[in-house]
Amino acid sequence: MVAVTYRDTTEQVATDQVVRLSAGARLIRLIVAAAILALTLAGTVVSDDEAFPFGPPRMYATRADPDAPVSSTRVVGLTDDGAEVPLSGGEVGLRRAEFEGQVPRLVTNPELLGLLAATYADNHPDAESLQAVAIIVRRYELDDGVRTGAYVDDVLVTYPIPDPEDRP
């Protein structure tokens, strides 16, 4: 049996009923849609991420200078022997981009970093305890938009974890 498509159909059939909307139902829908559209457009034109869900979809909207270094931020814990433990890959429930969004606040209030040591210990009971938490920015060098392979690590802030005995 050959499938019948609408192209083969010469006339409408009785089963093709349409459920209509009343004029009032249409009007309400159009008014609400227009309001949401207005908020969406206004959000993109004048507002920012804090206006979610009406903020501008600004993924990759910032122009990156072809000669400026590319920065990649990471938050790490430091153990007794100075080893780095990654904390910005979901180990304490926050993603790298979330840390990046809060960097200015964390630099001003580094004691917030201290809270992460406890969260890390809760999530990883068998892991070595952290002596300090630091924010490090790695800057990859670019030359006319092409990577040169060189990078430098820049420690923005280090917060030493107070000894348990010193805590109130």
Partner: protein, 290 residues
């Protein structure tokens, strides 16, 4: 008919109820996938010190609760229960509305920690409008103006995600955004084996930036795609774009991709199986426009 009526008419072109019944199932079943598999970091906020909570405007205005462990876990399980009930198609207005509200709160929990994602505007719009359709069954042969409105609005939201992304690039990056190194930066930070070679081809990522913003600025034209087959082609093109980005940058706009699926004529699945029946036409608008 005046142009006002014709404009309004575009929103209410009847769409088969079977189409939205299929899409609705996909959208609601995606929610547990989103929560437990593809966007697990939202639930991880349950364990984050509340000092890291940075309320959005909407969180302030509505005095939404600070996401403590209890709040996050409660919203999560209510959302899952509501989405599964909504997926059954029973009492679609009630469970659709609770699912939209809970998912919205879930997104507030997601976006209030220093990073706002832009991958689910259209999905939120879809969850908001699905309850307005009412009862819709897979085998329903009727078409509905309410379904037409829902599908039209989701389509506009999908389009706006691209168009406003171009606007944001011009607003934040300036007209010279295309000559910056935004994509180089993205590949350096998130690149995969499938994309890191692009760093070594001079000009490739530069040209890609022109192509990207060009497509985004032209995206309103996609609303003129009316015929079923053309819409299928459009969906394949859009999904191809997102798969390419995923292969190269490990970023998949998955909720947005689910919203894109609303453009497809899902009712054809059923038609092709019941081949002996005479098929009602679903392309009024296409016929009217041609």
């Amino acid at each position: 008919m005046s142009w006002v009526n014709r404009f309004a008419g575009w929103f209410f072109v009847p769409v088969p109820l079977a189409r939205v019944a299929v899409f609705r199932l996909i959208a609601y079943l995606f929610i547990p996938v989103d929560v437990f598999v593809t966007t697990r970091w939202v639930a991880a906020h349950a364990g984050v010190p509340t000092e890291y909570y940075q309320p959005l405007l909407i969180g302030d205005w509505l005095s939404l609760p600070t996401p403590t462990t209890a709040v996050v876990d409660t919203v999560k399980w209510l959302l899952i229960g509501s989405a599964l009930l909504a997926a059954t198609g029973k009492a679609p207005r009630i469970w659709g509305t609770t699912t939209f509200l809970l998912y919205f709160e879930w997104m507030v929990i997601a976006m209030s920690y220093g990073k706002v994602d832009h991958d689910r505007y259209a999905f939120l719009v879809a969850l908001a409008v699905l309850p307005t359709i009412g009862v819709a069954r897979w085998r329903d042969k009727r078409r509905s103006e309410a379904a037409g409105f829902a599908v039209a609005v989701i389509f506009i939201a999908v389009m706006l995600t691209y168009f406003l992304a171009a606007w944001a690039k011009i607003r934040f990056g300036g007209w010279d955004w295309v000559n910056g190194s935004t994509l180089t930066r993205a590949v350096l930070r998130r690149g995969t084996d499938l994309s890191s070679w692009t760093l070594d081809v001079p000009g490739l990522l530069h040209v890609s930036q022109y192509l990207m913003i060009g497509f985004e600025l032209l995206s309103p034209l996609m609303l003129l795609v009316l015929r079923d087959r053309a819409r299928i082609a459009l969906v394949i093109f859009l999904l191809g774009f997102h798969l390419m980005v995923f292969a190269g940058l490990r970023i998949i706009f998955l909720p947005h991709v689910v919203a894109i699926l609303s453009i497809l004529p899902w009712e054809r699945l059923h038609r092709q199986r019941s081949s002996t029946e005479v098929i009602p036409r679903s392309d009024d608008l296409a016929a009217a426009a041609s």
